[in-house]
Symmetry: C2
Amino acid sequence: MFQQGVNAMPGFSTVSSSAWARTVLTQTTLRAAPSLVAACLLGPAQAAEGMWTLDNLPRAALQAQHRFEPDAAWLAHVQRAAVRVGGCSASIVSEQGLVMTNHHCVTRCLAELTTAQRPVKSQGFLASKPDQELACSGLEVMQLQSERDVTAQVHAATQGLTGEAFQRAEDAVRARLSRECQQDQSATRRCEVTVLYRGGQYVLQQYERYSDVRLVWAPEDAIAAFGGDPDNFNFPRWCLDVALLRLWRDGRPVKTPVYLAVEPQGPKPDELLLVPGHPGQTQRSLTVAQLERLRERLATQTIPAASESRGLMHLLSQRQEPTRTWALQAMSSIENGLKVQQGQLQALFTPALWAMKQAEEQALKAHVRAKPALLARVGDPWSDIERAQQVRRELELEFSLLSDGAAFAAPHFQFARTLVRGPVERLKPDGQRLREYSDSALPVLERRLKAHTPMDLVFERERLEWSLTRMRSVLGPDHPVVRQVLGDRSPAQLAQTWIQQSRLHEAAERARLWDGGEAAVTASADPFVALVRAVEPHARALRERFEAQVLAVEREAAQRLAWAQFDRDGRSRYPDATGTLRLSYGTLKGWREAGVEVPTHTHVAGLRRRHTGAAPFAMPERWRSAGATVADDLPFNFVTDHDIIGGNSGSPMINRQGRWVGLVFDGNRHSLGGSFFYDAASNRAVSVHPAVILESLRSVYGAHDLLRELMGGPVPAR
Amino acid sequence: MFQQGVNAMPGFSTVSSSAWARTVLTQTTLRAAPSLVAACLLGPAQAAEGMWTLDNLPRAALQAQHRFEPDAAWLAHVQRAAVRVGGCSASIVSEQGLVMTNHHCVTRCLAELTTAQRPVKSQGFLASKPDQELACSGLEVMQLQSERDVTAQVHAATQGLTGEAFQRAEDAVRARLSRECQQDQSATRRCEVTVLYRGGQYVLQQYERYSDVRLVWAPEDAIAAFGGDPDNFNFPRWCLDVALLRLWRDGRPVKTPVYLAVEPQGPKPDELLLVPGHPGQTQRSLTVAQLERLRERLATQTIPAASESRGLMHLLSQRQEPTRTWALQAMSSIENGLKVQQGQLQALFTPALWAMKQAEEQALKAHVRAKPALLARVGDPWSDIERAQQVRRELELEFSLLSDGAAFAAPHFQFARTLVRGPVERLKPDGQRLREYSDSALPVLERRLKAHTPMDLVFERERLEWSLTRMRSVLGPDHPVVRQVLGDRSPAQLAQTWIQQSRLHEAAERARLWDGGEAAVTASADPFVALVRAVEPHARALRERFEAQVLAVEREAAQRLAWAQFDRDGRSRYPDATGTLRLSYGTLKGWREAGVEVPTHTHVAGLRRRHTGAAPFAMPERWRSAGATVADDLPFNFVTDHDIIGGNSGSPMINRQGRWVGLVFDGNRHSLGGSFFYDAASNRAVSVHPAVILESLRSVYGAHDLLRELMGGPVPAR
């Protein structure tokens, strides 16, 4: 399954070590593409390439290849029906506010709702009436209402500035625009200025915010993630990776005319298929120097840290409940992240990729050098970015541990930091705060802080001890922060004491401290508050240096790169993914693996053959006893050549009539290099077929009302 | 501490994943050396650079810098006093066959000797009389008696051959020469043909083999490895990393005139210091293509696998005894390996290293191209080697898992394979067998197989389950071997069943099967024997392809590289380390770290300051209560600029009079790039000072007889 797309703090997602990482993939992927360089340099986009913004679709290609010209009504409908949930995508699929996404997008909610009496994760869940639906306290659904180009305003505010001054000015104008848009309606509205083309374009987006989201149906973990880590990012697959949620407001389900009806037959051969969704992050426009640093970081920091976690979780998942469930949950996320990161690293060890990137960079440099006026405006952003990579190399490890907080891997630490920083930041003018405390971000932050967040203290203690041990090993026992934090005690002693003494796992205690402001926090004797205070000067200094000397420099230089590219190509290219709404297009398509053609569809018969009885290849009881009511030839999963990435999980796949014909949940392993380039020959998206969703609701789960609701809506306007 | 040097199967050490791996090092190491390229290209060797063979010392440099000219008697004495133990170095230090090496070189023996009544590892051990000394069943001491250049014989046998034919001929002639030398004296003699300069020179070495080695004294783990993983490869240090063994033969301690006397004062400033030892493996003569592949493998295979192990061991070491002890033992080895591998990977991400290696390669290519006769003889070995790297890339992952056996991480599997292969291989003529079954290797193999090998079956089951899980994840559930091995069962089920049913943890059962030959093995129903049989066809095919298309190609091409280098430089360079006897030279020397000069010595006062009471910074009870009898200003560890590497652990450091003035046990973290080049500015060796060994024997351990024995010998001839 894809990783979820966007972090709370997008600028930092690439240094976050809470984004996890180990599986060496078999290496047929990119090496088997000798024509890669040629292919990628032929034109701005290969067939089906691109995560396009809705205002800049590849209309000529869609018309030429598929005779498709979406009108404004079609686009407006899709824009509102394709929503965002957490770091995933989703869609509204009934008039009564039913929302469809992947099972793997709501696993945290499932774990939180799981009790001994109600084993939601292992046994699945079905609410037979609306009042049985269970609130997912951590989930919010965001629906894009409108967007407006604000490039001129931002450029006016940042013109002529560089480095830190540039970044401050950009932050300030983004915060102001968001605030003005959001007004005092933060309970139901969120406004964000999205940065496209790494600074070439700024778009102010206004979202409707649904924060009462309830679980309606989830199948058993064993069928949603059938094949587990071994089959993840592989195909053929048999995953019923679906969950249904419902939007509530004011104590009632939300009624809406904007939803996608189902096409139970699924996709037809050669039919144009469209995927509206929220791809999280691609790195296709990074410079060679940035890619080199990224490779080094993956190899020396990200993957080793995640691999250790994996080993730890392997054993923690043998403990008794509830530790076992939390460890399995963490394991699944870690293993998924590791496959992504190893796939990226493999791609970054492919000579053809470097040849392609170097050629692209040289071509753009030549274009700039040939036009004196352009050169005067653009300068040499490549060198500026390269210098920033030296600082990354110096700082990133320490930044990840101490500033990002990977050294203190317990939610308590993150909560405590929010509590300590909150009062300080809220006193500052909006544009001068740390980004996550801006007026536009505060409501979400506060909601998360105060939300009931179940956790297992044994699990948290073990993970914390490990992260402290790692910090000491990596930074050395003589690092001033390590000395200060550990003093005369061992990681085991500290983790034990802190977790035992802290009350920050209680939502009420966090709410009390937040609402009490600085006075309450100052009076608190919580060990994690003390820890944050001890680390804070160093963590702040690191973050300031990282933002000023790395992020600000990269951002400002990338903007100049975008200008150079616009000058040459106009708007014929799509921007890197940013977790915001995009449209991909494609068709049903297999690929050749080791000389053998992989078929587009799997069926129930294949699932039955793959069942061994031992996890992760064990169908749950309901499926084993389903018998002939679920036919062997019922389609299960299928592949298409859409250009998607983590964050697209849960995206609906629709036909030109706007009916959904699939639910995207993964890519094949060749898609992992998709961070850096699109490989038309083998990059494939993997979706759940509507037939298996509908049929299983009917004959496996007996969810007749839900089936009727899904089938009942009118076809949306085309 | 350094990794031990040589694997049982040297050709395979670079693909072995039993060589473990994770700690991201702080990155000041190599980046701080901008003058690296210039420095390394100035001449064949920097001051103190080189792991020299005793027949080709840098006599001019030794004479010019130190006015030292060792004569034949000096060299002969050192050659016999500096012995090899396992993958470590050691020295004979008394007339009664006392052998000194590092505590970390005998940890496996200490773990095996540990019982609830006799906690050798945690509490240390002292035999007050010879009959209390405890046999280390797995240890052998090898003493180099003589060596003879056999380059002409080998070249005659391999002339004109390439690839597999070359390798077969080389194997055959090496086996024949070893066999002729060894005759029927395999109980006390071992002969090996060592390949120097990667094929430029072949040397037949005859060793005296001591296989009754007994533990005399070991301090507590907590002082031997004080600072643990956090301080490992760092300095300042306070490690009493020493153990004393004794050679026995025919039921009596071995009397010998060949030993090193101690110089209790340790090394003097500016004094010439010499380190005879057995450095295991360097990679300084690899081509750029080989280094690139090595980097990729470290990043995508070795380090991720070892990192997972580390996480696993972290939790396993919290289990109850004896699992805890075995996990801690494994953890220490894994963490050590990880620091080495991460240090190597860091070095391989240093632009200056690549600039240096590329320049060196270009220079040698130019030399060859300029001389037609040389070109005709040498050809283009660089391209041949580069092609072999493509095969490495294709095979190494699978090779490591299925052929090397990392997928089946239990000693049972290795034992079973020896039992299955033994009868088959022994039927073949000597030169045609798998290398580890040659006549010269068989005695050691058989001894290991039949030796009592304590193990903890809980530990083995957990590790095996993990390795099976990893195999499935990495190769995918549809790999034919994965399908065949797992069938319908899970890794947990299989590991449980196999470990429960197998009897291969019993030495007697292994001896029965070995002595029973093919009939006994065929009749065996042991699950590991069955597993080996199932995997064998695939594993053999992989190994054959790997040997023919990678190792043979690299070996033959490397020989031509050596010829090119000899043509240009004569014998002015030293060969890459090969686990055989070398001499390094240097002096006491600190280095600058982040602008601050690191002093050469540590003292007991520093140990007392660093003691926190929590492991790994807790002095053992005897040291805490030692009080003023152990003076604060007693020297503890010190640094010198010797060029050493893993395998040098346990090497004596001697002065020109041949007295030992230190015991090498580690390098600083800058030494980790030493695999690829010697950095005179900051690469440092770390040794135990004789004063702390002698004083602790006297006032901490009350080992007065032992102290007398160490002090009593006459000064060897100079």
